[in-house]
């Protein structure tokens, strides 16, 4: 509010009043949320206790924060808004834009040896598996969904369904027929894209909110079928002891024919993790490469044109039905790849891994990153998924908030907080400009004000 006022003079009295009002509001809001706590006593009775110190410290932090905002930050923002914007962006931005991608690819390639060198063999598993592989799966899912949401402008809230199809196809085919990971990977992709087309057909005529609701329902249908089709999927219990991927036929076991023995190394489970890391890295880079390539092909341009104006597309002889279906199929295929990798890595899958929360996280990653932007989506996935993983390590918070405090429980709160911040600061995502797919003389990025968001 104060940020938008053109005045630069600071009104201390008004700031104090404002801070007092904020404190009152925070007190009212947090009194039931933080102030009261129900605990079980020795007789298993629920008793109400209070947490006044915590409540008042939270309220005080908020009031001081608000005061600092109106005294320091708001005048600074107002002054900055009045300063003329430089006509050309600074040179470092062009430098970062030029070198970011090669540097990022180089970094992810040397990440495993780097982690092993710094954290040792024992500590590396956590950083490779929980952090590296987990983030890369979501980067890949984000990039896949980006084709549907970012390029074609079709809001898909049931994307996790295709991830599930990929995971279950790998699990079932590998267990029943003993086929290898590398054969099942394309099969899982094809099956998932088949389901993508299957979803695409009935929703072709829907746009915007209606499309979102139907895709959401589709995601739930797939999950509920997985739960109830017990003969095939084993229901809630899930499928366990799924065959793990091998190094081109050499299993990662401690046996004599295992990876370590064959290559004359000492056995450690880290080898498998490193291998899985490079597999998902390869898959994610494949997704990025294909998407970048497709954007410069007629089909990618037709997707973007569809997002901009569907009627104009039809007037130019573009079969919008086929164009939408290819977008659904292509997005679903990458989810299928990611799903089959997920099943192979976990060794166990159940319908619990494919809830709406997963779809929502992937959509959140795409929206935060900026629809249509590869780098933005990758950064958002690192922040969202990697951030959650890092939160598990913030043990020092237990000293502050008490031993029962679990930072990961605040994951969704932080998700929401990040969403709100991004929507205020950059409503179209971290990287919202669009790079043209072709140019005559000069590549000029296109401001997000002009780029359509797609209405269905």
């Amino acid at each position: 509010m104060a940020a938008h006022a053109p005045k630069t003079r600071v009104d201390v009295g008004r700031a104090l009043k404002d801070a007092g009002l904020t404190a009152l509001l925070a007190f009212g809001l947090f009194l039931p949320l933080i102030g009261f706590l129900t605990v079980q006593d020795f007789n298993n009775n629920l008793v109400l206790t209070t947490r006044w110190p915590l409540l008042f410290s939270v309220v005080a932090v908020i009031a001081v924060g608000r005061l600092a905002y109106s005294l320091v930050l708001a005048p600074w923002l107002a002054a900055r808004a009045q300063r003329p914007v430089a006509a050309t962006p600074p040179a470092w931005r062009a430098f970062v834009g030029r070198w970011f991608t090669p540097f990022a690819i180089g970094f992810v390639l040397v990440y495993p040896p780097f982690v092993i060198l710094t954290a040792g063999w024992g500590g590396a598993v956590k950083w490779l598996d929980n952090f590296g592989i987990q983030v890369l799966i979501y980067i890949m899912l984000g990039w896949g969904l980006n084709i549907v949401v970012g390029l074609a402008g079709l809001l898909d809230l049931g994307y996790v369904a295709f991830y599930a199809v990929g995971a279950y196809s790998y699990a079932l085919f590998a267990k029943e027929f003993g086929l290898s990971f590398w054969i099942l990977l394309p099969i899982a992709g094809i099956l998932a894209s088949f389901w993508g087309v299957l979803l695409g057909f009935p929703v072709l005529r829907l746009r915007g909110d209606y499309l979102a609701i139907v895709t959401l329902a589709f995601g739930e249908i797939v999950r509920i079928v997985l739960i109830n089709f017990v003969d095939l999927t084993n229901g809630y219990a899930g499928i366990s002891s799924i065959p793990r991927p091998t190094f081109f036929g050499i299993p990662f076991t401690a046996n004599d024919d295992g990876f370590a023995a064959v290559f004359g190394l000492e056995f450690t489970p880290v080898y498998r993790t490193i291998f899985l890391y490079y597999v998902i890295l390869g898959l994610a880079l494949l997704t990025a490469f294909v998407t970048v390539r497709l954007r410069r092909l007629p089909v990618g341009r037709a997707w973007e044109a569809l997002r901009e104006d569907e009627i104009a597309c039809r007037s130019l002889g573009i079969n919008t039905t086929n164009t939408k279906l290819t977008a659904f199929a292509m997005g679903a295929m990458f989810a299928g790849f990611a799903g089959s990798f997920f099943a192979a890595r976990q060794g166990f899958i159940s319908p619990d891994s494919f809830t709406f929360m997963e779809s929502a996280s992937i959509v959140a990653i795409v929206v935060l990153g900026g629809m249509g932007s590869q780098i933005g989506v990758a950064i958002a996935a690192i922040a969202m998924i990697g951030g959650t993983e890092i939160m598990r390590d913030l043990d020092f918070l237990k000293h502050i908030f008490g031993p029962t405090f679990d930072p990961t429980q605040y994951r969704m709160l932080l998700f929401g907080f990040a969403m709100v911040l991004i929507m205020i600061w950059k409503p179209r995502g971290l990287i919202s400009t669009r790079d043209p797919s072709v140019f005559l003389k000069e590549r000029k990025t296109i401001s997000s004000d002009l780029v359509g968001e797609g209405r269905g």
Partner: protein, 302 residues
């Protein structure tokens, strides 16, 4: 190209009903090859509805819309085609299309009827050049082997894309937008957006170009340039034009043939000068009954 002067598009007994409203009633007219045919009439006369029927965006309630490629002799096949239930027939000397049976994208892709819109529909977030490449989608799609060869970077696709860019460059030069090829289409001024939309429609290689109020919102100089552009399209490419327009300076100057609609009914059909002096047309535009035209004209000093 189709020989000039022969019928290219035949509209017969076209009727379009929206619930209880009859927007176009029993409309019949012909558009001849190599001519500029103008469709005029007061607001709400049903002109855009006729366009939407011709370009496949609406399915007409009744009527036949037929279009010819090649020699005029293919018109002989019209009745057989209608009875056969097919969309089109191709013979060695040409082809015949029944537009009312085709979905909108095939009207452009196969029958090669291109259109522009009354409220400009450009791809605002894409560059001017990209807009023109999207218009050549089907040709490029084929050249990219339905994406497969394109992903692998086959040279045949690279060649086709270069040809498409050359064609776009040609049309950008024709409409005077070459210098702005790499700017987003949404950044162009209004008049330039109109010209770009025409260039985009021309990139689909049409035989018939349907323009819905191309001069709307243009200043006199710009509409003069538009006249020259349309005359050049007709003269150099032999493309026939069907035009909806309110700007009489455009209609009277460049059309060869004018059709006047009022409340969905054709009230006049002929050369621009004949239509201009038609009592019914004047009455429709003045919004008075036929018999009062002389009186009203005297009042307003015509």
């Amino acid at each position: 190209m189709a020989p000039a002067g022969d019928i290219l598009l035949k509209v017969e007994h076209l009727r379009m009903r929206f619930g209880g409203l009859i927007a176009v009633d029993d409309l019949s007219f012909d558009a001849r090859a190599g001519e500029i045919t103008a469709l005029i009439g007061p607001n709400g006369a049903g002109k855009t509805t006729v366009f939407n029927c011709i370009t496949g965006f609406y399915k007409p309630s009744e009527g036949r819309l037929s279009l010819r490629h090649g020699a005029p002799a293919v018109w002989d096949a019209l009745e057989t085609l209608t009875d056969s239930g097919q969309r089109s027939v191709t013979r060695s000397d040409g082809a015949l299309f029944l537009l009312e049976r085709m979905p909108d994208y095939l009207v452009t892709d196969e029958a090669r009827v291109a259109r522009t819109f009354q409220n400009i529909r450009l791809f605002a977030g894409m560059t001017v050049l990209e807009n023109l490449l999207v218009a050549q989608h089907n040709k490029l799609m084929l050249a990219s082997g339905y994406t497969l060869l394109g992903v692998l970077g086959f040279p045949s696709f690279t060649k086709a894309e270069r040809a498409a860019i050359d064609k776009a460059r040609l049309w950008l030069d024709r409409v005077g937008l070459l210098a702005r090829a790499d700017d987003p289409a949404g950044d162009l001024p209004y008049g330039a957006q109109r010209r770009l939309e025409i260039a985009r429609a021309m990139c689909t290689d049409p035989v018939l170009l349907c323009l819905d109020e191309p001069a709307a919102g243009l200043n006199p100089r710009e509409s003069g340039e538009l006249n020259d552009l349309l005359l050049a399209i007709r003269a150099q490419h032999g493309i026939s034009i069907l035009l909806i327009e309110h700007d009489m300076s455009v209609v009277m100057e460049i059309s060869d043939h004018v059709i006047v609609l009022d409340y969905g009914i054709k009230i006049a059909d002929g050369a621009p000068n004949d239509v201009r002096n038609d009592q019914k047309v004047i009455a429709a535009y003045l919004g008075v009954p036929d018999k009062d035209v002389a009186k009203v004209e005297a009042e307003v000093g015509l």
